[in-house]
Point group: C2
Chain length 203, copies 2
């Protein structure tokens, strides 16, 4: 197939990632991965001792593909406005390239929430600090907000939800036309920040 010059180990990881993301942990069997990778099932256990181990490695990688941006952008020295635009731009791009991430992560995280703690620390982001920082920025601009966390959840929700609910929304509102919906998602790079910033500025 597209085995290129990847080491077998890397190739497995790549294939397993696809299969796991498409079918979830429970919906994936070691045999499926072996078949799609064109190898013997035992080889999976040779490189990654168990299904769980293989999955964890993949999940951690997927997680680190989008979470760190959060910290980078919001701990940066950009203005609030710049941060919001940067965030929407970054996240929508990432998910356009990896559309399965949102559902996959939510799905698995909801089954195994304990696992999350280590991943967050590993990603080197400190939510408390982030919240404090944005809180300070808002105060500096004379904007009052009951709870800054609404700001974050709003931003996250507006960017991520359209990907997670894609099957539903694309069908209901876009005649199931992929291109149309992709375009719609791109529009949101501006739509979302405008909505968020507009609401913050006035009151």
């Amino acid at each position: 197939m597209a085995g290129q010059k990847l080491s077998t180990e890397e190739h497995i990881l790549q294939v397993a990632r696809e299969v796991f993301m498409q079918n979830g942990y429970d919906g994936t069997s070691m045999q499926m991965i072996a078949d799609r990778a064109g190898i013997n099932k035992s080889l999976l256990h040779y490189y990654y001792r168990s299904k769980e181990r293989l999955f964890r490695e993949i999940f951690a990688k997927v997680f680190s593909q989008f979470i760190p941006h959060l910290g980078v952008i919001f701990m940066s020295e950009m203005s609030l406005e710049e941060k919001v635009y940067a965030f929407a731009d970054r996240y929508i791009d990432v998910f356009l390239e990896n559309p399965l991430i949102p559902i996959f992560v939510m799905q698995e995280l909801s089954k195994n929430p304990d696992y999350l703690a280590e991943l967050i620390k590993e990603a080197g982001i400190n939510p408390g600090l982030m919240i404090a920082k944005i809180s300070q920025m808002l105060e500096d601009e004379g904007i009052y907000m009951k709870d800054v966390r609404h700001f974050f959840v709003n931003l996250l929700g507006l960017c991520i939800f359209p990907f997670a609910a894609r099957p539903l929304i694309q069908r209901m509102m876009f005649d199931n036309e992929k291109e149309a919906y992709d375009n719609f998602l791109l529009e949101r790079k501006k739509e979302v920040p405008q909505l968020i910033l507009n609401a913050i500025r006035k009151r």
Copy 2:
């Protein structure tokens, strides 16, 4: 257990609903359901011929627990403002009572998107009509919007995402304290409409 005076058939449905919602289709075995219902596995097949059939019946019910509100609220004769408030109120209530719905529906829908079409029609909602109606209302109020569908996706995302991403957000931003997060979700009944309406009114 809490078998009360439910017919066995209803009891099974109730237990199966819980198990399926918690573990997803793939993560659930007929044996699990039978055990949790305190019955023999064969009895499941007696009432519902297969796992698939049992699941479909449940999924349809779950789906119809929140989707019809969409149509009812937005096809009503309320003002736009009232509709937005009504929507947030309704949906946040429904999901506070059934927190697993969002992830469950997204998860299964992403694996089996074709199944969706019939469900939407069954629910008696016509997205195209809804969009047209809100479009008209906005126009009447002299508000211009590139694409009204952003309005819907925004509203849906702001209300639903906090439930779907609960494991992540509650841990990252709320020290994993359930009550605090529940309270936060309640606040959003006003927070979300304010955000949406504020952005629409001014420009």
